[in-house]
């Protein structure tokens, strides 16, 4: 038994790498196995939410900036990319990048004042407000965005309309997102994030530029969200403020992140896939979608605060460390 735990601790990185590779191969193979186009669509949504939740997890779970206006960045990317391609006729392949850049700019505009507020509840309130204001702007300027009527006929990415192509594009986006996330978490910036998570005073005394780091992370997360939003715009070809800027979206990414496990890398992805897939496949419950999300949030926050993956991870690691300590003790006595 103890050998398994030893193996786990020593080979954490290898295990993670192998599982990620296996998951990737599965996703690549999916379109060959799955025949119904609808399921491909569901998987695209799963991957899309994985990107959004991974980005939010980066800023909230790792950097501790609990932004409840994050959906505005997704929506900004969507609207900017859509509007640019409609009004200027530019190819979506170009405007997606511009949408992401716009989201990054908005992200900076949101993050910089928010971080001036000292207390966490205030940051939450401020970001929520800003998100809602952005939604109201989109909603109340129909000359620009057609408001709640919807912005339609957004140029497609693939003229031949084959969904599988969008699937692989989304997969690429997801892989790149994860590479960015992993790189940041394991970088010096990531180490200082961990320090910030554990104690603000300690890291301040070590001279780490907290606000600067948080803003940089926020902008990376914003870029990812914006790019994903732009993809969504050109994939669905229609946008409304409520669907891409509204609090329903916020509920979803919060629920998925929470259930998967905030503060872990695999958690958000796990949460996104399980929830999106289950809810799409239980179409009858469409009306109850938000109610179910809400109940999931409530139950998880009370009973399973670290999420499924987070709890699992800490249990295994705690067990493994206990075994390791026991072994060390044995060795020292001898």
């Amino acid at each position: 038994m103890q050998n398994i735990y030893k193996l786990i601790l020593l080979r954490k990185k290898q295990i993670a790498f192998v599982s990620a590779a296996a998951a990737l191969l599965t996703l690549i193979a999916m379109p060959f196995v799955v025949t119904k186009i609808y399921y491909i669509h569901v998987l695209i949504l799963c991957m899309m939410f994985s990107c959004i939740t991974s980005a939010w997890n980066l800023i909230a779970g790792y950097a501790g900036v609990f932004s409840f206006g994050f959906q505005a960045l997704f929506g900004t990317g969507a609207y900017v990319s859509a509007l640019l391609s409609i009004h200027f006729g530019w190819s979506p392949w170009i405007t997606m990048w511009m949408g992401a850049a716009a989201a990054m700019a908005v992200g900076a505009l949101v993050a910089i004042p928010s971080l001036k507020l000292k207390e966490l509840p205030y940051i939450c309130i401020a970001t929520l407000c800003m998100g809602e204001i952005i939604r109201l702007i989109a909603s109340n300027f129909p000359e620009l965005t057609r408001g709640e009527l919807g912005l339609s006929q957004i140029p497609k990415l693939f003229q031949d309309n084959i969904k599988v192509k969008s699937y692989y594009l989304m997969l690429v986006i997801l892989v790149v997102t994860l590479m960015i996330v992993v790189k940041i978490v394991h970088s010096p910036m990531g180490m200082s994030l961990k320090a910030m998570r554990d104690s603000q005073e300690a890291s301040e005394s070590l001279g780490i530029n907290i606000a600067g780091t948080k803003i940089r992370i926020y902008m990376v997360g914003a870029f990812i969200a914006g790019f994903t939003g732009a993809f969504y715009a050109h994939y669905m070809n229609i946008l409304t403020p409520t669907s891409v800027l509204g609090t329903a979206l916020m509920t979803q990414y919060v629920a998925m992140c929470l259930i998967g496990g905030i503060g872990t890398i695999a958690g958000p992805i796990l949460g996104s896939f399980t929830i999106t897939a289950s809810l799409e496949l239980l179409r009858k419950l469409e009306d109850y979608r938000l109610i179910i999300y809400a109940l999931l949030i409530i139950v998880t926050i009370i009973f399973l605060r670290d999420g499924i993956w987070g709890t699992f991870k800490s249990l295994i690691i705690a067990r493994a460390e206990k075994h390791q300590n026991r072994n060390i003790k044995k060795e020292t006595i001898v």
């Binding site: 609990f66 409840f68 004042p113 001036k116 507020l117 000292k118 207390e119 966490l120 509840p121 205030y122 939450c124 309130i125 401020a126 407000c129 800003m130 809602e132 204001i133 109201l136 702007i137 109340n140 609090t247 509920t251 919060v254 929470l258 009306d287 109850y288 938000l290 109610i291 999300y293 809400a294 109940l295 949030i297 409530i298 926050i301 009370i302 009973f303 605060r305």
Partner: protein, 293 residues
């Protein structure tokens, strides 16, 4: 724009302002004692209105019993929520984001449950008093607004008396200023949490009942009021009830003026901008709170 227009605008702002004050005072109490921001507070406001509408239309009840039962109903519901969700969370301390996320979940749950149960159509509750007054022939004031004003005045005075003069009020303030030591005085703070939570929910419900003839009933009314409640709460100073009252009336007046200047579709945006302004300008509120000794 003549004088009567201005007076009506300000009076209307004062009237809604007193309701905002009640909601903000409740939020402030919960924030002070339980140390959590109750994001679901607006939903109790909404539930008060919906209970009243249901009892009046479907139940065909006369007005006064319907009002009383609605208030009691919301209080009982809030008590249930307290035992089912809040208490279990408080038993597991750590992670300062958890109360926020819990109340967020509650807000979404209650809002969408209401949407499911009552549907998305805006509902109307008739005015309680169908007369209109013309004081000094200078401006018009509906009977409904007079009822609102008198009711809120009575309730606010009662609230202030309880907080400042009674044993319970002292216990509530003690719990919000130093919960750990309050226990050593014999105060059962779990009980105080319960009382504070349910009373605050009741205040929100009353506000909902008083305002629903004016603004109509819909599942999203809680969310909009929540923002205003937060403004009032922060502006007045966390845990500071008198501050919340003044801030509430102020908020009502400012909103009234702003809406007539810019247009009512921006009403929500005004509230959000106001909230942002309050957060940055004076995070400790206009009336602040002294630190413990």
């Amino acid at each position: 724009m003549n004088l009567s227009y201005w007076i009506e605008m300000i009076m209307s702002g004062v009237v809604t302002g007193t309701c905002y004050a009640m909601i903000g005072a409740g939020l402030s109490l919960i924030w002070g004692t339980l140390k959590m921001v109750n994001l679901a507070h607006g939903e109790y406001y909404m539930l008060g209105s919906y209970f009243l509408w249901t009892l009046l239309t479907v139940g065909n009840m006369p007005l006064i019993p319907a009002i009383i039962i609605s208030i009691v109903g919301v209080v009982i519901f809030a008590a249930a929520v307290h035992f089912a969700a809040i208490r279990p969370l408080l038993r597991k301390p750590g992670w300062n984001m958890s109360p926020w996320i819990l109340t967020l979940g509650l807000q979404i749950l209650l809002q969408n449950l209401a949407l499911k149960i009552w549907g998305e159509l805006y509902r109307n509750v008739p005015y309680f008093w169908n007369t209109v007054f013309k004081p000094w022939n200078m401006f018009t004031m509906s009977g409904q607004r007079i009822i609102i004003l008198t009711s809120t005045a009575v309730i606010i005075i009662a609230l202030m008396t309880v907080i400042k003069k009674t044993r319970l009020g002292r216990a509530i303030i003690a719990t919000s200023q130093d919960g750990e030591y309050a226990m050593m005085m014999g105060i059962n703070i779990k009980q105080i949490y319960f009382i504070t939570y349910t009373i605050s929910a009741g205040l929100a419900a009353v506000a909902g009942i008083l305002l629903c003839p004016v603004y109509s009933v819909n599942p999203w009314m809680g969310a909009t009021v929540q923002t205003k409640g937060l403004v009032v709460c922060i502006l007045g100073g966390l845990g500071n009830i008198e501050g919340a009252i003044i801030a509430g009336i102020l908020m009502g007046i400012v909103e009234s003026i702003a809406v007539s200047a810019i247009g009512s579709e921006w009403r929500d945006a005004i509230a959000y901008i106001f909230l942002l302004g309050v957060l940055y300008m004076k995070p400790s509120g206009l009336f602040g709170k002294k630190k413990g000794v």
